[in-house]
């Protein structure tokens, strides 16, 4: 069966990047069709009622990096986007003490002072430097990566401009940037602070989604992410979307529809149709074929090129590069329905700390040892965890008086020894819950339901290869003009008319939407 409607472009995958991409194309007057495999849009940014009355941001659970120009261009607040701030972070320590960072700057300073007056002093300076660094990196997120191997004057000019931008930072900031890009978060933080639990908590944010430990070089620059969101004054460091992260996807989808895009769920694309080296449309799993002169994949690079284009002749070197692209999912998620909020030994009772994040990162060695387990193919027996209680900030997420608890867990390697089985998933869930229990005795008895998601589950449900939450590791050698493959970082592909717009392209990672937007600009540019 062939579709009677003539589409200008088909977008494969209705995750947030696919939706942003579609919205921008539709906004430019294109007739766009989005095809989503699952019954709902969002990809890894979905809200689901996993247990009756209990709603979860199943996978991705916090928002910080969504580009302000996208929020503006697509009028997302009007379409229902509402970000609630997650202001505090509480780190329980093994000795019963804690470290807390509050929304109020002076209060955080006093708390730090309790641990180390020197660190309290350094904290402001560190924050200022990170703020400047975020400014220095920001323009890169919004640019199409130039190809340093090309002799095209446009590339050369862009490279030159980039060089000038960095030189313009001046010595001190340039050096700081080099350090951020190359060091381990532990080493970088050692230069600033002496309080172990402070370093551990900050370093932990540098390992999220990577298969690296806090002492591995390349983890420092992720520290920057915490300061990126703050820049634009749109919202604070981390936020929680009212209604869960699914409402971010829904808002983008609503904007796309308003611009005229059509979104079809339960529509699995089997492959991209290619004729004479040109994309002509897609074939669905049910046999339907839909044609369009432009086809855009928001899936990760492995599925985009090795699955959707299976059978299409691609340059050998390119295929080798895509095969080499690393995923190595390292994180899992445990979603719990609770009868009541847990009581942490270090801060008894229910309090404002439940409105923020609780970080299980009591020491650098603790987090590093969690990585050691994963390095040799086991899930962490005592994992790093980032915990939030969305129902405290957004009561609609759980029945009255009850709560939902979201636990992001690292490390859970995709390639676990012996492979993931039901028994291993249960053991993993038990390790997570036992560890929380140590910091909040009695917690276990509050659990009404539990959902444990391993990287294998994340892959099965969202399609993200190896369950990598960034659609490909955010390692230095997989960024910028190397993402996803050298020579193909400008959203185009070796097949004419076929584009990529997912997180596996520059700049990738997090609910940012930048890839989807930049890819749309590339498609529209080519169309002119």
């Amino acid at each position: 069966m062939t579709s009677p409607i003539r589409y200008d472009a088909i977008v494969i995958g209705g995750g947030h990047n696919g939706l942003v991409h579609a919205a921008y194309l539709a906004r430019a007057g294109k007739k766009v069709l989005v095809l989503e495999r699952r019954p709902r849009v969002g990809g890894a940014a979905v809200t689901e009622e996993v247990f009756p009355g209990f709603k979860f941001s199943m996978f991705s659970y916090v928002v910080s990096l969504l580009r302000p120009e996208i929020i503006r261009d697509l009028s997302l607040p009007r379409h229902g986007l509402h970000i609630l701030p997650l202001e505090s972070t509480l780190t329980p320590m093994e000795n019963g003490d804690y470290l807390a960072a509050w929304g109020d700057h002076d209060e955080t300073r006093r708390e730090l002072c309790r641990h180390s007056p020197r660190d309290a002093e350094a904290y402001d300076e560190y924050g200022r430097l990170m703020h400047h660094m975020a400014h220095a990196v920001k323009p890169i997120l919004g640019m199409v990566p130039p190809d340093p191997t090309s002799l095209n004057p446009r590339d050369l000019f862009a490279l030159l401009r980039l060089g000038r931008h960095f030189r313009g930072l001046g010595g001190e900031r340039l050096h700081a940037l080099v350090k951020l890009m190359t060091m381990s978060s532990a080493d970088l933080l050692d230069e600033w602070f002496e309080t172990d639990v402070l370093k551990a908590t900050k370093a932990a944010s540098g390992i999220i989604g990577t298969f690296l430990g806090p002492r591995s070089p390349g983890t420092a620059y992720v520290l920057l992410h915490h300061y990126m969101g703050e820049l634009d004054g749109v919202f604070r460091a981390w936020g929680f979307a009212k209604g869960g992260t699914g409402s971010v996807s829904e808002a983008i989808a609503a904007a796309a529809r308003e611009f005229g895009a059509e979104i079809r769920c339960d529509a699995t694309v089997a492959r991209v149709l290619v004729k004479g080296g040109r994309a002509t449309g897609v074939a669905l799993q049910n046999g339907d074929e839909i044609s369009a002169p432009v086809v855009v994949s928001s899936l990760d690079p492995r599925r985009t090129f090795l699955q959707l284009l299976e059978g299409t002749a691609l340059p050998e070197e390119f295929v080798a590069d895509i095969r080499r692209f690393k995923f190595r999912g390292s994180s899992g998620k445990v979603n719990l329905a609770l009868d009541a909020l847990p009581n942490f030994t270090c801060m008894p009772g229910v309090g404002r700390h439940h409105r923020g994040a609780v970080s299980i990162s009591p020491s650098l060695d603790y987090v590093e040892r969690a990585y050691d387990d994963a390095k040799y193919g086991e899930f962490s027996r005592r994992p790093y965890m980032d915990i939030v209680f969305p129902s405290v900030i957004d009561p609609g997420m759980a029945p009255p008086g009850k709560h939902v608890m979201s636990i992001f867990v690292q490390y859970a390697p995709y390639h676990v020894n012996g492979g993931w089985t039901d028994a291993k998933r249960d053991a993993f869930g038990d390790a997570v819950i036992d560890t929380v229990e140590q910091f909040a005795p009695g917690f276990k008895s509050l659990i009404l339901h539990r959902q444990v998601l391993t990287p294998a589950d994340i892959e099965r449900i969202t399609g993200l290869s190896e369950g990598n939450i960034f659609a490909g590791e955010l390692a230095l050698h997989q960024l910028f003009f190397l993402r996803p493959a050298p020579g193909w970082a400008k959203f185009r592909t070796p097949v004419r008319g076929f584009y990529q717009c997912g997180s596996g392209t520059h700049p990738g990672g997090g609910i940012m939407g930048a890839s989807g937007r930049l890819a749309a600009l590339a498609v529209l540019g080519d169309g002119r």
Partner: protein, 473 residues
């Protein structure tokens, strides 16, 4: 002759100190080298000697010998026997074929690609690091020339450079090979003198750093008697058993050195130190900008290498023997060091030359607590076990020994780890990469400066040329 009359004092009679001294002497300076050790080490120097140095100092006619072992490495195989790799790429491929035909097929291409990248580093290493902040026309021209040099190597080399440098050596090797013995012996060169394991980012760069100066297919740096040759080379005076600290004049400039044990001051308007940056400057830190002192104290130089000798009662049946059976073995050895312990099963490499066997052991982390005899016995036992020798035949110096005996900061033989944040214009301290220090008349020329350890004399030559260029302008 003492006291007055010296134009320059060089601290340290290692290769870099001597090279710097001889370059200054050749430019007409009267140079005194002061060295705290009583005797020159008989060990061979490991590292590439830039051909410029051999040529300009006329070392070839002075008896310089560069060892060319063939096979260049031997590694025990799990099933018995050894994997031996040869200077001839084809012959190595034959040896690899017995373990993995696929790996053998990739060997020649791997050797070629790595060689090309090492060539880029060589070009960078024989000159001061590029100054990315400078607005001087000359510097911009130099940067542009460097860019062109790389571009001329072609597309693949540019991509390799950008992709491989930040990688871990494990990722790099996994991209190419399957055999553990092969990856272990190659990966070992990626962790030399680093408190990192092969799974850590930046170790691929360290691997290439140690490939510099070797022909395609040889992944161990050359070993030579350059230290002995330079010591015998006339033109500078060397005073041994003379531990020195920098002396400042009332104007804050370097005024010479104080020979500590002899209570003797040697005056000179120029002091060039090949000692490590932190120990050179630590005593005068009170006169320096606190920001600079902070940066100096942040230099990562966490010693992890023990070195020593092995006494065998029979001639060695190898030239280089590497015990690092896999990348995971290396990583586990690192895990111990990460938590402050000696590796229970360390990576051990032994080099036999002229009846002497030198041993490199990793990881033996520096610790400011006193190393007990029990620790020493355990280490000797694990090293002996790796080499199939009696522990009593192993004599080792640990990083603690070096700090105690020679004031080497944290016992790091490279005077600073070669991680990506501590190379080029970031070495030794960001903004001070051109061998200068905040003290007028005091320069650095040791491995703590660009291009770092494992390169024989490049830092000394770059520093001397920089000093002489400054004096002219």
């Amino acid at each position: 002759m003492s006291g007055a009359g010296w134009d320059a004092v060089v601290i340290g009679a290692g290769v870099n100190g001597l090279v710097a001294a001889h370059y200054l002497a050749r430019a007409g300076r009267r140079v005194l080298v002061v060295e705290q050790r009583q005797e020159a080490s008989p060990a061979l120097e490991t590292g590439w000697i830039p051909p410029h140095i051999i040529r300009e100092l006329g070392l070839a006619s002075r008896g310089l010998r560069v060892a060319q072992p063939d096979p260049w490495i031997a590694a025990p195989l799990p099933a018995g026997g050894r994997l031996e790799l040869w200077r001839d790429v084809g012959k190595s491929a034959e040896a690899i074929r017995r373990l993995s035909p696929a790996d053998a097929a990739r060997w020649p291409e791997f050797c070629l690609r790595m060689r090309r990248l090492a060539g880029v580093l060589e070009a960078l290493y024989v000159q001061p690091p590029p100054d990315v902040e400078s607005r001087e026309v000359g510097e911009l021209v130099r940067l542009a020339r460097l860019g062109l040099h790389v571009r001329r190597l072609g597309k693949q080399a540019i991509i390799d450079l950008a992709r491989i440098l930040p990688m871990s050596v494990a990722e790099l090797l996994d991209d190419w090979f399957a055999n553990d013995t092969l990856k272990g012996l190659l990966g070992a060169a990626g962790v030399w003198h680093l408190k990192q394991g092969p799974y850590s980012g930046g170790t691929a760069f360290n691997f290439l750093h140690h490939h510099v100066g070797s022909p395609a297919g040889v992944f161990r740096p050359p070993r030579s008697n350059i230290a002995q040759v330079l010591t015998a080379l006339p033109g500078v005076e060397i005073r041994r058993d003379a531990e020195a600290t920098v002396v400042l004049g009332s104007d804050g400039r370097a005024a010479g050195v104080l020979l500590v044990q002899r209570h003797e001051q040697v005056e000179a308007p120029l002091v060039v130190s090949s000692a490590d940056p932190r120990s050179t400057l630590w005593d005068v830190r009170g006169t320096l900008d606190p920001e600079f002192v902070h940066a100096l104290s942040n230099v990562k130089c966490r010693g992890v290498v023990a070195r020593g000798t092995l006494a065998l009662d029979r001639p060695a049946d190898f030239s280089t023997l590497c015990v690092a059976p896999s990348l995971e073995f290396l990583e586990r050895a690192y895990d111990d060091a990460k938590y402050g312990r000696d590796s229970a099963r360390p990576y051990v490499e032994a080099w036999a030359e002229d009846g002497r066997i030198d041993v490199h052991v990793q990881y033996v982390p520096f610790s400011d607590q006193k190393r007990t005899d029990e620790h020493r016995r355990a280490l000797a036992a694990s090293v002996g076990a790796a080499l199939g020798a009696e522990p009593g035949r192993v004599t080792l110096h640990t990083p603690d020994d070096w700090e105690r005996l020679y004031d080497l900061t944290e016992g790091h033989l490279y005077h600073g780890e070669l991680t990506l944040d501590q190379i080029l214009f970031m070495r030794p301290v960001p903004g001070w990469s051109r061998y200068r220090t905040p003290i007028d008349g005091l320069y650095l020329c040791g491995p703590g400066t660009h291009p770092g350890g494992g390169i024989a004399g490049a830092a000394g030559r770059n520093a001397a040329r920089e000093i002489l260029r400054k004096k002219r302008t």
